[in-house]
């Protein structure tokens, strides 16, 4: 599994465009809000938690449709399924690699996005934590979605339709946590619930994805 993770890391390092694209997409979407709703600071700060979460989830979704499709197209998927790793292990590595190469860079970009949306500075740390957990949840769900839609025509369109509704809980708890931190209330309960979601998806999503890969 470590060997596969190293290879995924190497691939991401060789093709930094995918990671950069997600990061820039995230920043551009958050930059659109001040233009759309006007630069009134209060209004922006009200919108910030939801806008951050929505932009991050959409950005993390971008590279998902290539997650298994690229492997299937060049025959690597067959070899991986015969590598002695179980489907669950392959999916777990893929989800982790997706999180590290997409979710991680989004965290790096999050202070810029927070500043653009006029989120109070004390809430920035909580925002980064909420984004980290929410993108982990999406990486896991998305891996299962990518495995299920593999081989479907227009899988790239089907995937967000399948995954985004399931990401609604992460959106609710993440945004509520950031908002609580911004207004000085207790944010921990919301992020604990978000963490619980990610923890539940941690074993279930790779298992589902592994079963889908085998059935493919």
């Amino acid at each position: 599994m470590i060997a596969l993770l190293r290879r995924e890391w190497l691939l991401a390092a060789r093709h930094p465009g995918d990671t950069l694209a997600s990061m820039l997409f995230f920043l551009l979407v958050t930059a659109l809000f001040p233009f759309g709703v006007g630069p009134a600071p209060d209004m922006l700060a009200r919108l910030a938690p939801g806008a951050l979460l929505a932009a991050a989830l959409l950005a993390a979704l971008l590279p998902l449709d290539r997650l298994f499709a690229a492997e299937a197209e060049d025959g690597s998927l067959d070899q991986l399924l015969l590598s002695g790793l179980s489907g669950t292990q392959i999916a777990a590595v893929k989800a982790l690699a997706h999180w590290l190469t997409t979710g991680g860079p989004l965290l790096l970009a999050s202070p810029i996005a927070c500043a653009m949306l006029n989120l109070p500075v004390p809430a920035w740390g909580v925002a980064a934590l909420a984004l980290g957990l929410a993108t982990l949840f999406l990486s896991l769900l998305g891996t299962a979605g990518a495995a299920l839609t593999l081989g479907a025509r227009r899988g790239g369109v089907l995937l967000p339709l399948l995954v985004l509704p399931l990401a609604i809980p992460a959106m609710i708890f993440g945004a509520a946590g950031i908002e609580a931190a911004a207004s000085g209330a207790a944010w921990q309960p919301f992020l604990l619930l978000l963490g619980a979601l990610a923890a539940a998806a941690l074993p279930l999503a790779p298992f589902a994805a592994g079963a889908a890969l085998r059935a493919e």
Partner: protein, 200 residues
């Protein structure tokens, strides 16, 4: 070693083949022949455990081979139509993944297919024949009892076919078995021919 009893495969609503039975002992080679679409690739994928059998059983030393797919996968190497190389990674990096998973060393494997000295090149710089040889190098990494080869010699020049023949001979001399689908002659002396016809 490997025994197929009444295997059948279905793709979509279509029966690809039905009631296939054969036996493969260690050191033996089986050549799959037949027209395009007769199910050679499907049979190889079925033997690898990549597609389920619609009917029949596949036995490995008398026990059900496909009851535990990862265990079965560890007994075999499958070479498909596609070379499974990542164009952005070098040849060394491409093979290192498999060397870490299966054991074996990259340099001797590249030497076995005549690609020594090219390990630092990105896979996208290689010619089609060189990519095929890189895919064959995966076979040379670590010994396993069964090789499943889908048109292994496509794009190979005469010299490479000679090297490939030597690899096959070493594998069979060590007790390994080979099932290969092909339209051309392969360097497999004494191979049995198994013809796949159109299903009735």
């Amino acid at each position: 070693m490997l025994e197929a009893i009444g295997l059948a495969a279905v793709r979509g609503e279509q029966v690809v083949f039905a009631d296939l039975s054969f036996n493969l002992a260690s050191g033996e080679a089986l050549l799959l022949t037949g027209a395009n679409g007769s199910g050679k690739s499907t049979l190889l994928r079925l033997l690898a455990g990549l597609v389920p059998a619609a009917e029949g059983a596949l036995l490995w030393h008398g026990g059900d081979a496909l009851s535990d797919v990862p265990t079965h996968a560890a007994r075999l190497r499958y070479l498909g139509h596609l070379d499974a190389l990542k164009p952005g990674l070098t040849l060394d990096e491409n093979l290192t993944l498999w060397a870490r998973l299966w054991g074996g060393r990259v340099a001797p494997a590249l030497e076995a297919v005549g690609l020594e000295g090219l390990g630092h090149l990105p896979a996208r710089m290689l010619s089609a024949g060189q990519k095929r040889r890189a895919a064959l190098a995966r076979l040379a990494l670590a010994p396993v009892p069964l090789w499943l080869l889908d048109e292994p010699s496509v794009g190979l020049d005469t010299g490479s076919i000679g090297l490939f023949g030597a690899m096959l001979a070493t594998h069979r001399a060590a007790g390994g078995a080979v099932v290969a689908a092909t339209h051309v002659d392969l360097p497999l002396p004494g191979a049995r021919i198994f013809h796949l016809g159109q299903p009735a």
